[in-house]
Structures are given as structure tokens and as C-alpha cells.
């Protein structure tokens, strides 16, 4: 007799966690790329402004990364059965 193959609650939970983290990583990934490419172009055009640009580059990086952090937190919350 063959064993029944199906998705139980835990399996759905893991799929939900993977989806939350994976989908949440798309936007911030592109956003961080845009931030750094813009900063690099600006540094190349105007090397004197590098110090100030680097500051705002990291600021932009932090702001662009927030959605991913949130989605990762929710993904972990789902995966570890907290919500």
C-alpha cells in the first residue's frame, strides 16, 4: 500500500515562510542595486563629493532594506509558529 502524499500544516507554513522571504527580497534587491549604482556613478563624476555621497548611500541602503527585514521577520514568525 502506498503512503499518502500530501501537504500538512507544517508544509504550508514552510511554503508561506519561503514565499514571504523570497518575494520580499525582490524589491529591496533591485532598490539596493539602484542606490549603489547611483552612488557609484555620482562618485565617478564628482570624486570630491565622495564623503558626503557615501553617507547618503548608506542611508539609502538602510531605507531600501527595511521591507526585506520586515518580510524576513514575518517569515520567521510564520515559520516558527508564532503567528
Amino acid at each position: 500500500m502506498e503512503a499518502q502524499v500530501g501537504i500538512d500544516n507544517d508544509g504550508l507554513r514552510f511554503i508561506a515562510m519561503a514565499l514571504a522571504i523570497g518575494l520580499g527580497a525582490i524589491g529591496p534587491g533591485a532598490g539596493i542595486g539602484v542606490v549603489f549604482s547611483g552612488a557609484l556613478q555620482a562618485m565617478g563624476r564628482n570624486p570630491e563629493a565622495e564623503g558626503m555621497l557615501r553617507t547618503y548611500m548608506f542611508l539609502g541602503f538602510a531605507l531600501a532594506e527595511v521591507p526585506f527585514i520586515l518580510s524576513m521577520v514575518f517569515g520567521l514568525l510564520i515559520g516558527f509558529k508564532i503567528i
Partner: protein
């Protein structure tokens, strides 16, 4: 490519393939998200590594590593720095590190660097050493065996079709047939959410403190701004919310990067233990440095933003700086 090089490359690839397919790889080790307790002060530790209810203070493996990092930093300061006017030897290196950190901080905020620098530099050195110590050989692999009591884990261990591997005959291995798991003595402190949460809380509290100190009660108008119309009221509330998101984002950025790095190294090591983990290891060294830089630079930038009056004050400061 010369014939000799081609022969060498072929030999290496052949050896890797030969050993790769003939050795049986060890079973995948457990990955624990939280730091495991090694001792329980005021209580007793059971076979499964859980502390009993009356425990006042569990001693986890990441706590031990944190203490090692602290002792190392204090020793460096006590014995490495002798206040020589002309530095010699080790003090040169320390002055190089602190000097380049200071130069970087001056580039971000010239006016307040003396106030901000102590916390930034301390956090940077602590996080850097914490990240590196988790990459040391033996940090995650030497430990003691503890029995698994969680029924779900036992079932998972049994279902995994434990096959005999070449590593089972080595001495000092945990016995998987007896449901034992390895609990490492050392774990990177930043791979523990408690540590990174504490660092994030400290840095956000200091940001607010410096903001309040520099601007007084005017600092609060960026959160509760009812004078300039409903638009600014909403923006103020979003700013207030983002202060709390900063704690989470500081904590989870550091924790996520370091913990994910460890998991990636373990997975690569068990997928194919020959040479594949090497580039990932190098990348993790880079990530360890990068995360320390990101944490301290972001704290510095947020502090410098908090001390600037919102509105027209910014341009005047820029003009004064040049």
C-alpha cells in the same frame, strides 16, 4: 595553458571527483536559531539542554563567546596601548585602526564627531571581532553531545535514513542512533538575536538621546508636527514609526547576515566538502567586515541626522563646514 598546468588541473579535478564520490558524507547537522544553554545558574540542566524553571541565569554558548571577545578587547587596550609619544610595535596597528575609523567619522559629521565616536568605534570593534570569532575553525564544530527530546526532531532524525558514513568511525562523534546532537561550546555572539537586539536598542536610544540633547524639545516636533498642516502630521507619525522599525532593522540585519552566513557555510560544507566552501568562506569574511561597517556607519548617520535641526539649518551647517 601549458601542458604541465593542464595535467595538474586534471589531476586535482580527478582527485576531487574520486574522493567526492567515494566518501560518504556525514548527516546534516542541526542548525539552531537560538543560542543553546550550556549551564544554568540557580537551576539544573537536563539531558536535552533545557534549563529548569527556577533558573535565574542560563549561560549560553554565545554568552561565553561574548565574554571571550570582551576579554580580548580589554587585554588589547590594557597591554597594547602604553601612551608612547612615538608609537612602536603593536600600538602602531591600534593607532592605525582607530585613526582610520576617526577619519571616516570626521568625513560624515565634523562638528559632533567627539560625541559620537566612542560608541561608534566600540560597536564597530565589538561587532567585527564577534563576527570573526564565529568563523574560527572549531567555533561551531567543537562541543558536547546532548540528547534530543523533541519528538518531531527525533522523527525527523529517524526518517532521514541514517546511513553509515566515513565520519562515523572517527572518535569523539555524537551518536545519531542514540538521538544525540552536537551543542557547540562557541557560537558567534552576533548570531544570537539577544545580542543584536541589545546593540540595536542601545544605538537607537543613543540616537534619541543625542537628538534631544542637541535640539531640546524642538527635536520632538519632527514627530508631532501639527503646525504645518495635515501632511506634516502624517509624515511625523511615519517618522515616529520608523524610529521603532530602526531597532528591528538594526537587530535583524546583523543577526540575519551572520546567522545566514553560518548556515550557508554548513550547507556548502556538507554538500561538497572539497574546495566548494572556500569562496563562500572568503565571502563570509567580507560580510563580517561589511556588517560591522554598516552598523557603525548607519548609527553615525542617524545620530548626525538627529542632531541637525529640520528645515533651513542644514545649509548653514554645510556652509560653515567648508
Amino acid at each position: 595553458m601549458s601542458v604541465r598546468n593542464a595535467a595538474l588541473v586534471a589531476l586535482v579535478i580527478g582527485a576531487v571527483l574520486f574522493f567526492g564520490f567515494n566518501l560518504k558524507f556525514p548527516n546534516f547537522p542541526p542548525v539552531s536559531v537560538k543560542a543553546e544553554a550550556l549551564m544554568c545558574i540557580g537551576g539544573v540542566i537536563d539531558d536535552a539542554g533545557h534549563c529548569s524553571k527556577e533558573t535565574v541565569f542560563p549561560i549560553t554558548n554565545s554568552l561565553i563567546t561574548t565574554l571571550i571577545v570582551d576579554v580580548l578587547l580589554v587585554l588589547v587596550v590594557l597591554f597594547g596601548v602604553k601612551n608612547q609619544m612615538v608609537p612602536r610595535g603593536f600600538q602602531n596597528f591600534i593607532e592605525l585602526v582607530v585613526g582610520s575609523l576617526h577619519d571616516f567619522a570626521v568625513g560624515v559629521d565634523k562638528k559632533n564627531v567627539a560625541k559620537f565616536f566612542p560608541f561608534i568605534a566600540t560597536a564597530f570593534l565589538l561587532i567585527l571581532l564577534s563576527n570573526f570569532i564565529g568563523l574560527f575553525p572549531g567555533a561551531g564544530s567543537i562541543g558536547m553531545c546532548q540528547k534530543v527530546t523533541d519528538p518531531a526532531r527525533i522523527e525527523a532524525m529517524e526518517n532521514k535514513a541514517i546511513k553509515p558514513t566515513s565520519f562515523d568511525t572517527l572518535p569523539l562523534q555524537c551518536d545519531h542512533h542514540e538521538h544525540e546532537e552536537l551543542v557547540p561550546f562557541l557560537r558567534a555572539p552576533t548570531a544570537d538575536l539577544n545580542m543584536t537586539l541589545a546593540l540595536g536598542l542601545m544605538s537607537v536610544i543613543l540616537i534619541e538621546y543625542f537628538g534631544l540633547k542637541a535640539l531640546g524639545l524642538e527635536y520632538l516636533t519632527r514627530f508631532f508636527n501639527f503646525r504645518e498642516g495635515p501632511m506634516f502630521t502624517v509624515i511625523g507619525f511615519i517618522e515616529l514609526l520608523s524610529e521603532f522599525i530602526r531597532i528591528i532593522s538594526f537587530a535583524f540585519r546583523l543577526f540575519g547576515n551572520i546567522f545566514a552566513g553560518e548556515v550557508v557555510l554548513i550547507v556548502m560544507g556538507y554538500l561538497f566538502p572539497y574546495m566548494l566552501p572556500l569562496p563562500f568562506y572568503a565571502f563570509e569574511v567580507f560580510v563580517a567586515l561589511m556588517q560591522a561597517v554598516i552598523f557603525s556607519v548607519l548609527t553615525l548617520v542617524f545620530m548626525s541626522m538627529a542632531t541637525q535641526a529640520h528645515g533651513g539649518g542644514h545649509d548653514e551647517q554645510e556652509a560653515a563646514a567648508h
